[in-house]
Symmetry: C2
Subunit: 198 residues, 2 copies
């Protein structure tokens, strides 16, 4: 089965859009999705950005909000709004997602985190928000929230982020089919079509 | 008939993509296109950028080239490549296009300039390149190339660029339906659909 890597950042609004639609689209196309959470922060810092580009460029930020509202409405998602903490500190959620990728619950966890962030305006850096999501998935929240403080899980996320930089990623969401890069939720259909041809 | 304003910059690669497809798409949707050439330079400078963002961020620049090659191939356009002079000095072409918008030849002129730039890698700041295009459209190239040095035509382009900034444009191509903004060639279908509903 052809494979597509889905690289996403929990603070990224357009990653949210892709997370909510990638599973059924990939299933219909006969493509396996590999979920790859990473951190954009270190990559943006290397570009000279120290916060979200939507904060740095206000007219772009205002537009982004309107664009997301329109797309969420078109796709039947809940009304889109930014949480008070934007861009969110996505480190704890990303460390958990890497554990979930190993243990088989990454897709459901990722969708639930994004839903909390952009449909319910929750702070995804808040352990109680993450704990509730883990609990709803039937997972041991106490054990998992403690485990993300362990050096091995901190290292896993750093390595995944370093891999993203090494492979030329500069934004999220990004899709990789082998070394062929597609950037942005708009390119998801094209990336899936490419995967089925290669 | 619903109207859509097409705001574009001759140095912008994604403006090229829209220029080559907007007329048949708008015709099919029953939407009138108002062609609005402007300069991104002053707008980028206000954001702190002094050249193309694709030059400022090399990984994004490499990706952009690949993205455009894929899209050009999908759409049956000639193989995409950047001209040696990129980003081009687009001032003379934009001044001519504003005259063309007044006199009825802006669409054909715009497509010919973009074709020269991104399919033939010509320097669109070169008066001989612009003169040849004007001549092929049956226009008086000597008269027109002289006229763009006149204060009134310099002022028209400055005013159009100031209008773009005032209306919240931060990139190109952009589409306006009334005050509703759509940014990027990817949003052209959505902008046309919005125009037909409003």
């Amino acid at each position: 089965m052809p494979r597509l890597e889905f690289w996403y950042e929990f603070a990224s609004t357009y990653s949210y859009l892709s997370a909510m639609r990638i599973a059924p689209m990939a299933h219909a196309a006969g493509v396996e999705v590999v979920w790859k959470p990473f951190l954009l922060g270190p990559i943006f810092q290397a570009q000279g950005w120290h916060t979200s580009p939507f904060r740095i460029y206000p007219s772009k930020g205002r537009y982004m909000l309107r664009d997301l509202q329109r797309l969420a409405a078109e796709r039947g998602l809940p009304p889109f709004a930014l949480p008070a903490a934007f861009p969110a500190n996505s480190v704890p959620a990303a460390r958990l997602a890497i554990i979930g990728a190993r243990d088989g619950w990454v897709a459901a966890f990722t969708r639930a985190v994004f839903q909390a962030e952009f449909a319910e305006q929750a702070d995804i850096a808040d352990a109680s928000v993450l704990g509730r999501i883990l609990g709803q998935l039937g997972l041991d929240q106490t054990l998992l929230l403690a485990s993300i403080e362990r050096a091995e899980h901190k290292l896993s996320l750093r390595q995944q982020t370093a891999e993203a930089a090494r492979r030329g990623l500069f934004g999220a969401p990004s899709f990789l089919v082998g070394d062929e890069l597609f950037w942005g939720d708009d390119r998801l259909p094209q990336a899936l079509a490419y995967a089925t041809r290669s």
